[in-house]
Symmetry: C2
Subunit: 273 residues, 2 copies
Amino acid sequence: MTRKELIAQINKKKSFLCVGLDSDIRKIPKFLLDCENPILEFNKRIIDATKEYCVAYKPNIAFYESRGVQGWETLQATLDYIPKDIFTIADAKRGDIGNTANMYAKTFFETYNFDSVTIAPFMGEDSVAPFLSHAGKWGIVLGLTSNKGAFDFQFSELISGEKLFEKVLRTTATWGSNENLMFVVGATKAESLRGIRKIIPSHFLLVPGVGAQGGSLAEVCKYGLNRDCGLLINSSRGILYAGADESFAEASGDAAKTIQLEMAAILKNQIKN
Amino acid sequence: MTRKELIAQINKKKSFLCVGLDSDIRKIPKFLLDCENPILEFNKRIIDATKEYCVAYKPNIAFYESRGVQGWETLQATLDYIPKDIFTIADAKRGDIGNTANMYAKTFFETYNFDSVTIAPFMGEDSVAPFLSHAGKWGIVLGLTSNKGAFDFQFSELISGEKLFEKVLRTTATWGSNENLMFVVGATKAESLRGIRKIIPSHFLLVPGVGAQGGSLAEVCKYGLNRDCGLLINSSRGILYAGADESFAEASGDAAKTIQLEMAAILKNQIKN
């Protein structure tokens, strides 16, 4: 999916919500365990209930990979079920040397036909570049994450005066464009977005950490929105596990709709067209 | 596998060679393409030919993952074929927040029963810790990699006077012990090992980049060996693709044996017992 197509979807749906498919066999409603493939059934119902309110789905690859071959089959079937006008993100956080990174790009862009993959930047340009050379596909590089461990290295102060995550954003931005590169920026530090927007004003940011991890949508938008929206806000647990009984999908749809309505208001008020 | 068991294997085989199973359908001998599962057949013959000379196998997960469900089946069958007294490394370079990292640990330690997994450190302690709490299992954290992109961020100079990779080594070492934590340290910068050994004198180091990527075994050992050996030297392409015809596995065995003999001499001369 191109940047133009993504922006058109955001405007059409008045939403920049990404639903994270961190579908966990231990957390889905118990009655689904009688299905032939409980996770797939869960995902289908979640997709049916939320597709009107979101512009992206983000399967967390660990949750599929950990279930072996059946997990990968579930991932493929889930992708096949997602409407083609919705952006797909393989949350895989891959990163390896050139020929291996090429293999990972092949996995997610060709074998599974995702629109994008999340990437760890530690190994530098040759580990990121292979994700940036596929038409209509995106690399989404970890900039500043929303977990406690972000403070271990990402905030390291460099002699240049920058913090490490700032160098990562500034440097990585030169390897691609806002047409093939996005960044993960955690929402638990919304005020950081002000400085981040000075470094990468036009890129889309994938923002986890709203909801379960404590970030505020209004705060994130205050500092992070740009004139093209420029944000994909992810919610996983808050939507997936909004309900636990037979009407769980309705509860998920309601949770997604609540966020979408808030987003529609923000888009109306904050973006001048 | 425990540290004690690994050291016993090294002493018994007089080898600290790791064979990287970066098995690529485009590079294996053409006559294997007629087999039902060419990659599995290739791996089995490579394992038969090299198992006497190495103490570890390191499947590069990208090469399996990129082949979809069949790739994961091949990975499982390859693991089943590796003798139980040989250390296994899932070269996966995973790294994510706590609950997701737990899933990755489950994937490689439980679903596939690997002894160890390589991990990217960018997301900090909560992304590494879940790999360090499984008895007899190891996390192998990227310290200094051997690719060109290592210079983009890993050598960043911090106001503390350290380089980023030095901070990663020093900090990460406090999260585990030399019984559950190793580090990836690239061999193309053998002289860096002198300084690295001051930071982490007793940990095992997994060293890629000897051979195809240009590192020298003698140089790496000069700076990297400790009294328990403390090194696993990986070779992938130099062994896997040593031959291209029907006798390819013999050529791979010979290539592994050549390295093993060099290692035996180094162990005899450099480690005083």
